[in-house]
């Protein structure tokens, strides 16, 4: 009878308990981000503002894109993985593939722009270093221009027969062309040695650096042109709005003089002023969006994890409103960046994802 009761208890009695089994895990350890604002003043005027919405699959039905040449080839051959970038968008692709390609081209073009920006930064550092080295030489030979009729020649030191203020050569050729009045043999020898050293140090490097900077600038502009051309065609096809332009240091509002500026508080934990001047391409030119006029709302700036600051806000225009979720980044190349995703809610109920980037300078920066 006892076993019968046990059996009944087993089947009808208290609930079962599954075996407690665990699986092993192994994970790498990563250090937290070390996020610190440098002890530099932030220039409140925004250097650059990027605001893009990405098309949806329904936007690209029947869409195709023929690349803008020769810019396309110039831009994508400038990166080492340029051969992986597909050429344009064929009409026979699926809407999913077309949408992914539009976004891919925008992202890769953004990378190209970043590569060029970083290259320009490096080139400018090199140029600056070289200029400093040359300046050391130029500073050794101040030119106190002689009074007429010797005004085309220089004294090495100021005297009664010279101007009071010295001028300095700005390049080796200018230095070499200097004519000195009554130099000593030793001074003449020093000058010739300095000219030789100047040419040795420069050797056309400055001109080459300038050329490279211009080349990278050109690639940056062309990459921007590709994105604008691609999205403009997509906009036209979808009859929607994908691109907006901000009034910044590089994109001045010449009509109304509206500006984009952000002023952080002293502790860098929030904002005392937050204004964006954006042309949403709806025929209103650069409109002002700020907290005061209520077109920017729910602005928060929060440390959501060690070293990770999140800037969130909503911006309302006549066609759509978007919510921005931006990371903060400080580094030597870009100074201060707020960048991340936006979720745009259009008046017809469509929600499109996009990207936003706000770039700012530190005042003592290069």
């Amino acid at each position: 009878m006892k076993w019968l009761l046990l059996l009944a208890l087993c089947f009808y009695g208290c609930g079962p308990q599954a075996d407690s089994r665990k699986v092993d895990s192994s994970r790498f350890g990563f250090s937290n981000l070390n996020f610190l604002f440098p002890d530099k003043e932030i220039d409140p005027e925004i250097r650059s503002l990027t605001l893009l919405n990405f098309p949806l699959e329904k936007d690209v039905v029947g869409f195709s894109y023929k690349p803008l040449e020769p810019d396309w080839t110039t831009v994508f051959s400038s990166i080492d993985y340029g051969d992986k970038v597909p050429y344009g968008i064929a009409n026979n692709l699926s809407s999913f593939q077309k949408t992914a390609l539009v976004i891919y081209f925008v992202l890769v073009s953004g990378d190209v722009r970043n590569f060029s920006y970083e290259a320009i930064h490096e080139l400018k550092i090199k140029r600056s270093k070289l200029n400093a080295e040359l300046k050391e030489i130029f500073d050794q030979f101040p030119c106190f221009a002689g009074l007429r009729p010797n005004h085309r020649r220089c004294y090495l030191t100021q005297n009664d027969l010279s101007e009071e203020v010295a001028s300095y050569a700005s390049n080796c050729t200018a230095l070499e062309r200097r004519q000195w009045i009554d130099p000593t043999a030793e001074e003449e020898q020093q000058f010739q040695e300095a000219v030789a050293l100047c040419h040795e140090r420069d050797g056309g490097k400055l001109a080459a650096l300038e050329q490279e900077i211009n080349h990278e600038d050109d690639i940056r502009e062309k990459a921007k042109g590709i994105v604008l051309d691609l999205l403009a065609q997509a906009e036209q096809h979808a009859k929607s709005l994908f691109v907006a332009t901000g009034a910044t240091k590089g994109e001045i509002d010449s009509v109304n003089g509206n500006q984009s500026f952000i002023q952080m508080n002293e502790e860098r934990t929030g904002f005392t002023q937050f204004q964006l001047a954006i042309d949403f391409n709806i025929g209103k030119g650069y409109e002002v969006f700020n907290l005061e006029n209520g077109k920017i709302r729910d602005l928060t700036y929060t440390e959501i994890a060690p070293g990770i600051m999140e800037l969130r806000f909503k911006l309302y225009n006549d066609i759509y409103w978007f919510e921005a979720e931006l990371s903060t980044d400080v580094n030597d190349v870009y100074d201060l960046r707020f960048s991340g995703d936006i979720y745009s809610h259009f008046n017809d109920g469509t929600v499109r994802k996009g990207v936003m980037k706000i770039e700012m300078d530190f005042k003592e920066s290069l």
Binding site: R21, T99, A100, Y104, I304, G340
Partner: protein
Amino acid sequence: MQVTAKAFLRPGVKFLPLFFLALPCFANLKPPLSLPSARVLPVGVRTFSLKGVIAEGNEKINNFGQRQVLADPFFQELDFATIKKGTLDPLDLASIQAKMDKLGATDSDSFGQTSGVVNLKINATVPVMAYGLTKRITVAVAVPYTRSSLNVDTGVVQRNRELYDAFRSELQASGVSLKLQELDQKLADPINYKIWDYGYQPLVSRNANNLGDIKLIGRYQAMERDFHNLTFSTEVSLPTGRTADVNRVIDMAGGDGQVDLGLSLNHDWQFSERWSLSTEIGHTIQFADEIDKRIPERFDSSLSPDIDSAVARNLGDMSRVMAAIKWRMAGFSFGSGLGLQYKKRDRYRGSGEIAAFRYGWMEQDSVQNMQSAQVSLGYDTVDLYRSGKFMAPMSISIGHSRVLGGKNIVVDPLTTLDFALFF
């Protein structure tokens, strides 16, 4: 003619918890709980029986007839091919591809592998009341109640530190620390992150008690002569059990939420004093209904963030054939049987918000078949009662069912204890 309450419990009775996981969901065919029988109760006789069932959920047979652990969908390689396959958002795909190209990564480059364990224990108790309405008609009601315990755990083994560092550096250089944080969270616990990201409840071990789908059963004796007994049965399952929660990846629901109508024909042949052969042929119609359902975003996983609150569902009908040979002497009985079951494909249709082809992914692997074997050992006091040597007619039996083969089914065996009192 006498009948024990177990005769009313048909194979495929859905009081066992519905177990659904990221990969094929096995909601229907179950090993039989009792041997077939064509008996009906004598007029005016009532029975109360209590059936206890112990079952586990550890293993399944897939669409190709291969055995897999239930946690199989948790074992995923975290390579780019898998990651890319896992998205329907062109923005995500483009972002991944752009980063891969920038880093020179290929589809086969992997961050590691996820793993998991899922095991389930279930106890079900099914009280059944039956009554001999007329000489030929018996009616019954069964009210299943289940207690289940689920153990689940997931993990990740991270590999390829260089790839991690490269990806993290790239995100850091892009100035998107929020995405870097997201990457760290995703790769530290990929399964639970995805579950959270898709809006499911956390995957935790837990216990649950559920009322199942109540069954109303009627049996009509069409023929009884020359040691042959033929009955016709109908069974209606009412959707009284709690249905699977769309916000749980693994749920132990009590029912599937729709009405079933079961029809069967049973035949007993008493070919000797102690031996008999019982056969059954049956068909269960699962009526169409409308449910909330997550619509898969890829063909090989049911995980999805997209819920359609008006999915037209038509679960596939089920058919079965069973045969058992039984021996009985002095109250002792022994039986052994074989069963074949088949379930047709489920059908789903959306409300129009989500691409139609994604509904088709829920239909794949929904065709099921099962071959099972069963043994039963019992004792009853009917003869003792009739001879006045025992106070009441009652019976007790213990049964065991095993799955021999099939596809798209859970294969763990069932053990049952059945106690019945006649009055």
